[in-house]
Symmetry: C2
Amino acid sequence: MVSKYEQIAKKIREEIREGYFEQVEPLPTQEQFATQFHTSRMTIQKALDLLRVEGIVESRQGSGTYIKKNGITLSKLNRQSDEYVGLSQQLRGQGEVTSRILRFDLRFPTEIEQGKLAIQSEEPVYDIVRVRLLEQEPLIIEEITIPVRTIPKLSTQVLHRSIYGYIEDKLGLVIGASSRRIRAERSNQRDQEYLNCCLEDPILHVEQVVFLEDGTPFEYSHARHRHDKGDILVVNLNKKTK
Amino acid sequence: MVSKYEQIAKKIREEIREGYFEQVEPLPTQEQFATQFHTSRMTIQKALDLLRVEGIVESRQGSGTYIKKNGITLSKLNRQSDEYVGLSQQLRGQGEVTSRILRFDLRFPTEIEQGKLAIQSEEPVYDIVRVRLLEQEPLIIEEITIPVRTIPKLSTQVLHRSIYGYIEDKLGLVIGASSRRIRAERSNQRDQEYLNCCLEDPILHVEQVVFLEDGTPFEYSHARHRHDKGDILVVNLNKKTK
DNA sequence: TAGTGGTCTAGACCACGGT
DNA sequence: CCGTGGTCTAGACCACTAA
């Protein structure tokens, strides 16, 4: 059952994309929309709310609701990077992604890991190091820490494929927020060996914590990318939630 | 004039932060909140909507509204990197940010710039190269392209201080979305000269387009960071607007 | 089945913009 | 001043969850 305001939003979104309205003129008033769709103003507002957070329109009190310049472009950008997906997803279609597992152990978390994953010192974690390859070419070397209690029954088989796929498809958990810190570093000996790169090659280092939908942190990881085999796209729609 | 639902959201947000409610139990029902705040359920829902997009609470139809684990942590993270601010803002308080201007010219845009900034080939742009320093130490070398028509009357005086400050405070324009692509690169000769770094030092390269609130792209830039003087924090709340 | 959140209504008043 | 969007109300019905 799709709600009425979502249907209305979809209709208006399509009409905007098809150039049905003037770019500089305001859209029909909320009153006019309400009449057109046989509904109340509150419902129209919920529909327009959706388009607002997508960055397609903006409303000015006392004036009207306007189509944003580049509204469509921005809304496409938004979709592109709004949700975090694993590498396997990202590269879907570009070739076969495989993994070479360098370590798969159990141990107790360090103090930093306890902090990042919000767990106690006696709570065991998986300690994983793997190299991700696209069509046999090494892309990334990852060090991953995952609490055993949150994601039980990890196996090398899972690690060879996709951890994210396992969590979402097999365990039925939903991945939520993430926090990433990105920097450039010099390559170390391990990078050179496993990523097949030189001393002078820089590394794109991504340190991240990923949360489940309910807010449980489930992964703290360091990913080191070959500089020529990956960049990161960040889009900020600036919703000014304040 | 602060709206009622914002006041209510603020009150509930504070009570959650102070540990007034149980983490595992649902919050009071919307009905109860409505009675408590002498208002209607719709208004309570608008208040809870705010807390939802902040990642503090989540609602489950048929069950109740719950505090998210790490809800507070996430909401703080969110504030930290939600809106794009210029470097001068970011480093406010850490020392004095100054600029050394290497180039400040006018020219016509390249094809790539025409695409990124959505302008015609005959539309003139500023062509800026500057080094940003914190307490005399070089941090970043920036190449910036800005359409003259969008941001008129740029001056070296502005470039020495903050472009973003000029745009927001003096021109009264509001900065909106941004799209950034981040990668690691080897340093080139210019980096080594102006950032005072070695051949082996990697560079954190950020290519970005920044938009005004109405969707006009106003800046296309390449910023090259000294790898030891800057990383980038990216937080993704995953609102799944779908 | 009872209780919850999700949606929706038909009004109302207010804040603000442009005239 | 009028017309716009922003807020708010007091209900109503529905969809879903949990007992």
